[in-house]
């Protein structure tokens, strides 16, 4: 007898053990180091009992129970390794092998040929049967080897089913599937997505989305959780099918949005071969979205990466040495007259890069003329957005809320980890209300979908506020939904509001956020902002704006300036810069230094000289005068700050290509060449140490799991609202525009990742079928859209869900509309 309540005493293979009560026989045995073969069992999924490999003998049980599904009980006597069990396991395994391509399992030559299988030869000799991408990492193979199965006693029948390869990112080869159900369970239990299920019966039983839909059609988010748990080669990542087994893994943070998922970088022979989710102590239980899961290696392994510094533009561009590049930059910058230097940084940079960049502007050039593209993306609503960061809400608030209002949020391809939280909430009976103009993936779980007319978001939000304030009034249409949503929110405990970025580019985003804040106050709700930029908070705390000093103090704050002077030895400039990237006309022409950003056309036009520092070259049409190759996030040591204030580490996994260097280091080299002191950092840790002295609450180790509300006192100026343009001429369409979310260092991910283009194409305009027919447009046609301050060409996507008379586009990086929504004219482009 065991003497405490937490354990029970069981006998496994003639030895008595005390094992935790509630554990399964499999868990108990494994904890004692006893091997029981399994295929369908997985530690993060519910027991299944399908593969039957883990059958054991238990006294008093009929038949042979499976260890993975049988809970231990006091006094249980288990045998895991009798001759009969072994024979049955081998039988079952052989049955599975008889319908599985099995040369990798039982071929007598496999050990010999594997040594040669990567040999490149032009002669017609067999260099290994590379049927399967999982060769060497396959659990089926491993179990077969452990059980010593070298023959198959049953006739082998290749099922010959078509490999499903029409979806982006992964292929499904039914011929390799053993129907262990892991992918189905992970989709249903962990992702709460229910995209995958079993279909058909008997020998035709297969896994896949129901009704013969493709994964795209079935609403798959391409999170890749199914691929990660597949024990065989049935599910394989398209892009790195043949990359093999990783040598090591590096723990880091995803750079693609503000959710800040932890991830593991998988490296083989100093090359990125993939990513997997990592357990996150502060939230997400090891989840990624399609971008973090499938878009990292392609972005960093891209052959078009900048590898060496180059000068000149177009046909006279020439690669130069770092020495020459640094000298040229230093020389050009040293010659800058006051007020003729401007720096634009990306919110994708690490804190270390951002800190050094602003120090570079303030110390080396003595100017506050630094700006970040995040500010322009948020437009007039930026100060209000920063106020949300002061609220200190975290994703944990969503887990506590009994009702959740989602505003302008779509979690299918970005922030899908938040979508999992929402689906889990809905499954638990908590209520989700979503406000979004267009169909999105929350409609399926939402109790109410508040659907504004194009541009009617503000009015709808005000109606909701009114309905919440005075029950009984529903406001304007759709009145019933607003009243019902208001009732749901009013009656909720600790409601939460999740703010996506769909509505932020609207010209009235300031009012919208104000209304949202009023609503939150009225409901006692917490607003959780979900910024699209992974280090938005870092740009603020590092002072990457003209009016903000590191630590968040205003430039005008003399005390803050003198504190920095003591540290830097040079006083930061006091003059508040008039320049901002959103208003290129302001400020004198001169040198533009881009750090991790692309070159917007209007800035090219107003700059004499462009120093461009990034990981990819600029497009041919917009050349820079000097291009400096930077290291990508998988290649640098650094940190970023989550919207809730947690500081997350970024760790190097592979070496940068050729001569690329971390952004901060390039800046330091230029500054040193200019003869400036204060840039002698030995490594990123040294930069962090200095940041920790300036920024309150920033840990010198670059990692902290404690959320901190934003306390920066300084204000960030916003571009003046454009005067309403005269509505000249007939403009039949209402144009609404959303920001392109899937951007890294100024480039859309779709530029580099093939599959992404299928899921979230850039440069697409959605149009109602009737409008398209009236204008003689068909799917894929190019149209020119003319707005008062925007001219662009988009590809037509005909969408029956789009309201008639309205056109929806996704803005490209750097594009802005001063009036959003606005009336536009549409013209078909003739090729």
């Amino acid at each position: 007898m065991s003497d405490d309540l937490a354990t029970v005493s069981v006998v496994i293979d003639n030895t008595r053990y005390a094992v935790p009560r509630g554990a399964t026989v499999l868990e108990a045995a494994r904890a004692q180091g006893i091997y029981i073969p399994t295929l369908c069992a997985h530690e993060s999924l519910t027991p299944y009992g399908g593969c039957r490999m883990c059958i054991v003998e238990v006294d008093g049980f009929r038949n042979f129970p499976t260890a993975c599904t049988t809970p231990v009980a006091e006094g249980m006597v288990v045998r895991t390794d009798t001759a009969q069990l072994q024979a049955m396991r081998i039988d079952i395994l052989q049955l599975l092998m008889s319908e599985h391509t099995s040369s990798c399992l039982v071929c007598g030559e496999k050990d010999e040929c594997r040594r040669y299988s990567t040999t490149i030869r032009k002669v017609g000799i067999t260099t290994g049967c590379r049927f399967c991408a999982k060769d060497g990492q396959c659990e089926f193979q491993e179990v077969a080897e452990r059980l010593g199965v070298r023959t198959i006693d049953y006739p082998v029948h290749y099922r010959g089913m078509r490999v499903e390869d029409e979806d982006p990112f992964y292929d499904r080869d039914h011929n390799l599937c053993i129907l262990c159900g892991r992918c189905v369970r992970v989709c249903q239990e962990v992702r709460v997505a229910d995209v995958l299920g079993f279909k058909y019966r008997g020998r035709r039983a297969v896994v896949g989305p129901a009704f013969e839909r493709t994964h795209v059609e079935a609403g798959c988010e391409f999170c890749g959780a199914c691929v990660a748990v597949c024990p065989t080669g049935a599910l394989a990542e398209k892009a790195r099918k043949w990359e093999g087994k990783p040598d090591r893994e590096v723990h880091t943070t995803c750079p693609y949005c503000g959710v800040g998922c932890r991830m593991r970088l998988r490296v083989r022979e100093d090359r990125m071969i993939g990513t997997l989710p990592d357990a996150d102590p502060a939230g997400g239980e090891g989840q990624l979205c399609v971008r973090g899961r499938f878009c990292v290696s392609e972005v960093v392994n891209e052959p078009r990466r900048l590898r060496r510094p180059s000068r000149g533009a177009g046909s006279i561009a020439a690669e130069i040495t770092w020495d020459e590049a640094i000298a040229r930059a230093a020389e050009r910058l040293a010659a800058c007259a006051p007020g003729t230097f401007r720096m634009l940084v990306s919110p994708c940079l690490t804190n270390e890069d951002l800190y050094v960049a602003q120090k570079f502007a303030r110390v080396a050039l003595g100017t506050n003329d630094i700006d970040c593209t995040a500010r322009t993306a948020y437009g007039s609503g930026f100060p209000a957005y920063l106020d949300l960061l002061r609220g200190g809400a975290t994703l944990a608030d969503v887990r506590r809320a009994s009702a959740i209002l989602c505003v302008g949020l779509d979690t299918r391809f970005g922030r899908s980890v938040v979508g999992v939280e929402l689906r889990r909430a809905a499954r638990q009976g908590r209520k989700v209300v979503t406000l979004h103009a267009r169909p999105h993936n929350l409609t399926r779980i939402a109790e109410r979908w508040l659907r504004p007319a194009p541009g009617g978001e503000l009015a709808l939000l005000r109606d909701l506020l009114a309905a919440v304030a005075s029950p009984g009034t529903g406001g304007a249409s759709p009145a019933g939904d607003v009243a019902a949503a208001a009732a749901i929110l009013r009656g909720a405990e600790a409601p939460a509001i999740l703010l996506g970025s769909e509505l932020l580019p609207y010209d009235r985003s300031a009012e919208l956020l104000q209304t949202l804040a009023d609503l939150a106050r009225r409901l006692g709700a917490r607003i959780v902002p979900l910024p699209a930029q992974n280090n938005l908070r870092g740009t603020l705390e590092m002072g990457a704006y003209a009016g903000l000093l590191p630590g968040g103090a205003a430039v005008a704050d003399a005390a803050a300036r003198s504190r920095l002077e003591r540290l830097w030895g040079v006083p930061p400039p006091a003059a508040v810069s008039g320049w901002n990237a959103g208003n290129p006309a302001a400020g004198a022409r001169g040198v533009l230094y881009l750090v991790g950003e692309t070159l917007p056309p209007e800035l090219r036009a107003t700059s004499d000289h462009v120093i461009y520092q990034n990981i990819y070259p600029l497009p041919f049409s917009r050349p820079a005068d000097l291009a400096l190759p930077a290291a990508a996030f998988t290649e640098v040591d650094g940190s970023c700050i989550h919207a809730d204030g947690r500081v997350l580490r970024v760790r190097p996994a592979v070496a940068p290509p050729a001569e690329a260097l971390p952004d901060w280091e390039i800046l330091c080299r230029v500054a040193r060449r200019m003869g400036k002191s204060g840039f002698e950092f030995a490594d990123a840790a040294a930069v962090r140490a200095e940041i920790a002295r300036v920024v309150e609450g920033f840990p010198a180790g670059g990692e902290s799991d404690a959320p901190r509300p934003y306390r920066g006192a300084g204000a960030v100026s916003v571009p003046p609202a454009a005067a309403p343009a005269a509505e000249a001429g007939p403009r039949p369409f209402v144009l609404t525009a959303a920001a392109l979310e899937h951007v890294h260092r100024g480039f859309p991910l779709t530029t580099w990742v093939e599959g992404a283009e299928r899921l979230f194409p850039a440069g697409v305009a959605a149009l109602h079928p009737r409008d398209a027919a009236a204008a003689g447009l068909s799917e894929g046609d190019e149209i020119a859209v003319e707005a008062p301050d925007l001219r662009g060409v988009w590809r037509v996507r005909i969408d029956p869900e789009q309201p008639a008379g309205a056109l929806h586009v996704t803005l490209r990086h750097g594009e802005r509309l001063s009036r959003n929504p606005c009336r536009v004219e549409v013209r078909k482009c003739h090729v």
Partner: protein
């Protein structure tokens, strides 16, 4: 309730002994398939024409399928008389004759329902008593007592026949006493496994968790089985009363009837019954004023065979794919929506009202020690009198097949009990008593009630293949031994019936069958090899004939046999020539004929005509295939 019952009794009295003639039409799905609705319509028109104000009552199936459709007539002062194989024209003739000319046409009548159902009764006008018919004589009708007698859509008929008295008694004595009564009666699961019903109930009653659920399992999927459908179509209230009793005993407040969606009539009758129950306080809150709350949901399943398995059925009700899961935990501990749940077969539930009303001792009076009560079977196959029967446990198979079924048409070969999960028993087992343990010992199972009689025209290898194909295509795919193992077995059997089998295939088949039986997750896989295991055991010669001699003794496996005409016997009668669909037979009159093996499609028509035509000389013979196809 009592007032309602009195009114019901008055109505019943008027029906059974009133001054108005009554016409009963057996219109279950089986009767309808045989033309009962047309007969009913003909009866209605005839009554209109002859101007007799008779009532027409639709009743459920009374059992003898071979007599369908059945039409019964009761005229005032006379017992009800039953007519079989009635056509619309015949119905008109019977009614006109009996109601107008007072001639019951005894030559057409099957039996009468006079003087109760006790001792052998008298023949009236030469019409035997219905229950004295050889098919009915050995039967004991407890569960089926109302089938064919009451209008299944009329609650009053059920009440008049002591309906819901069992529930009244249950509510009176309390749940523990109900469980004790059921234990005392020795009720065992009629779904086939024979697990003592009270044990499940006790486990569930004691299990923590609210609410508890009770499910009535009407996922009847065996090929050739229709007991449960007929019972529900004939007497839905008896099943629902049983469901309420079970629910009350285990402390459930919600019941489900899980029924195949293609049982349209049964579903309609259940819905009607539930509606009537609700209207008179037999469902909902505070049933019969005893503080018992019970709601009912009728859940239609898509008909997967595996959904008859308890855990798969629970999954299906929950909205998931019907796939079994491992036990423990048992459904009685954590079942539907994770709550303690009891799943009982239709027939188990249907016998509860009788037990509660009459007591355990009465019930134990039927059957034998350890196997008390009765069991319904669908007696089908090559038997002269197929039908729905109910027999006391302990009865010999021989009595069922020979007395009730009237024996097989051709020499008996085997009987398959328990459908695809059961075994195929040869003639030496005919004296086996129908008891759970004895059936299992013989290699078969009691099963839910399918009983298929096979005569010499059936090849057992082909039969095993048929059942295995069924279980293989119904395997949910979850566990590998069942999904892949049965498929290999199907392949081997297909090889054997195609004449490509080898003697070593039999050992492989045996080995596979044992592996699948031992290693599969659920009952479907564990029992799927039974038809193969039993036929391999009892009909090994027939397998050997296929693999060694390359012939099929039953003449079923087309690749192995050939029809030939024995020229020494053929008298050239030409009876076979015109019926051959492919003109494969040629020969002049009075000259021996011959069959062209290349044209012959082995339809067997010539063989049958040569056997049975008086002119023919039994010259068409079956033999091992000699010519290549």
């Amino acid at each position: 309730m009592e007032a309602r019952r009195q009114a019901a009794l008055r109505e019943w009295e008027a029906l059974e002994h009133g001054a108005v003639p009554v016409v009963y039409v057996g219109a279950g799905t089986c009767g309808r398939a045989a033309g009962a609705l047309e007969v009913r319509e003909a009866a209605r028109r005839t009554l209109e024409r002859i101007g007799v104000p008779a009532r027409i009552v639709e009743v459920g199936c009374i059992g003898p399928c071979y007599l369908e459709p059945l039409l019964d007539v009761r005229v005032p002062g006379q017992p009800r008389v039953s007519y079989g194989n009635v056509t619309p024209a015949l119905a008109a003739r019977i009614l006109e004759s009996y109601l107008v000319r007072h001639d019951p046409l005894p030559q057409l009548a099957v039996g009468h329902f006079g003087d109760g159902s006790g001792a052998p009764g008298q023949a009236i006008d030469g019409i035997p008593r219905f229950f004295d018919l050889p098919m009915l004589r050995p039967q004991v009708r407890l569960v089926l007592r109302n089938c064919g007698f009451i209008d299944p859509e009329n609650l009053d008929h059920y009440l008049a026949r002591d309906g819901y008295r069992g529930l009244e008694r249950a509510l009176e004595v309390g749940p523990e006493a109900v469980i004790a009564e059921v234990r005392e009666a020795g009720v065992r699961g009629r779904g086939g496994a024979g697990f003592p019903t009270y044990r499940k109930w006790e486990l569930c009653r004691a299990a923590p968790g609210e609410p508890k659920y009770v499910i009535c399992n009407v996922s009847e999927g065996d090929p050739g089985a229709f007991m449960n459908r007929s019972l529900i179509e004939g007497d839905p209230h008896c099943v629902l009363e049983g469901l309420l009793i079970a629910g009350f005993a285990i402390g459930a407040s919600h019941g489900y009837v899980y029924i195949n969606a293609d049982y349209r009539l049964a579903i309609a009758r259940l819905r009607k019954a539930a509606q009537d129950m609700e209207a008179c306080g037999l469902l909902g809150r505070n049933i019969l004023g005893r503080g018992f709350d019970f709601d009912l949901t009728i859940k239609e399943g898509a008909g997967a065979f595996v959904c008859g398995e308890e855990t798969a059925q629970i999954g299906s009700i929950e909205g998931r794919r019907g796939m079994p899961r491992s036990r423990p935990p048992f459904p009685a501990q954590a079942g539907l929506f994770g709550k303690p749940t009891i799943i009982n077969n239709v027939e188990t539930l249907g016998s509860l009202p009788n037990i509660l009303r009459n007591g355990a001792a009465w019930y134990k009076g039927f059957g034998v020690q350890g196997n008390s009560g009765t069991k319904t079977f669908s007696l089908v196959g090559a038997v002269r009198r197929p039908g729905l029967i109910e027999v006391p446990l302990g009865i010999r198979l021989r009595e069922i097949i020979e007395s009730i079924g009237g024996g097989s048409w051709k020499p008996f070969k085997a009987v398959q009990t328990g459908g695809p999960s059961g075994g195929c028993l040869s003639g030496e087992f005919l004296d086996t008593p129908v008891e759970y343990e004895k059936m299992t010992a013989a290699g078969s199972i009691m099963g839910s009630g399918g009983m298929i009689v096979i005569d010499e025209d059936t090849c057992v290898v082909d039969l095993a293949l048929y059942f295995l194909r069924f279980t293989q295509s119904e395997s949910c795919g979850k566990c590998s031994p069942c999904r892949v193992g049965t498929w290999h077995m199907v392949n081997i059997l297909e090889r054997i019936v195609a004449g490509r089998g080898e003697p070593e295939d039999l050992a492989l088949l045996q080995h596979l069958a044992e592996t699948v039986a031992r290693a599969s997750l659920c009952g479907l896989g564990q029992t799927a090899p039974n038809p193969v295991l039993t036929t391999l055991r009892y009909f090994r010669d027939e397998y050997l004939a296929h693999v060694r001699d390359r012939t099929c003794p039953a003449g079923v496996c087309k690749e192995l046999v050939e029809y030939r005409i024995d020229p020494a016997r053929c008298n050239g009668c030409r009876q076979c020539v015109p019926i051959c669909p492919t003109d494969a037979i040629h020969g002049a009159r009075s000259e021996p004929h011959a069959i062209d093996p290349l044209r012959c499609i082995q339809c067997r028509a010539c063989y049958e005509v040569c056997r049975h035509d008086p002119l023919a000389a039994d010259a068409v013979v079956l033999g091992p295939r000699r010519s290549a196809r």
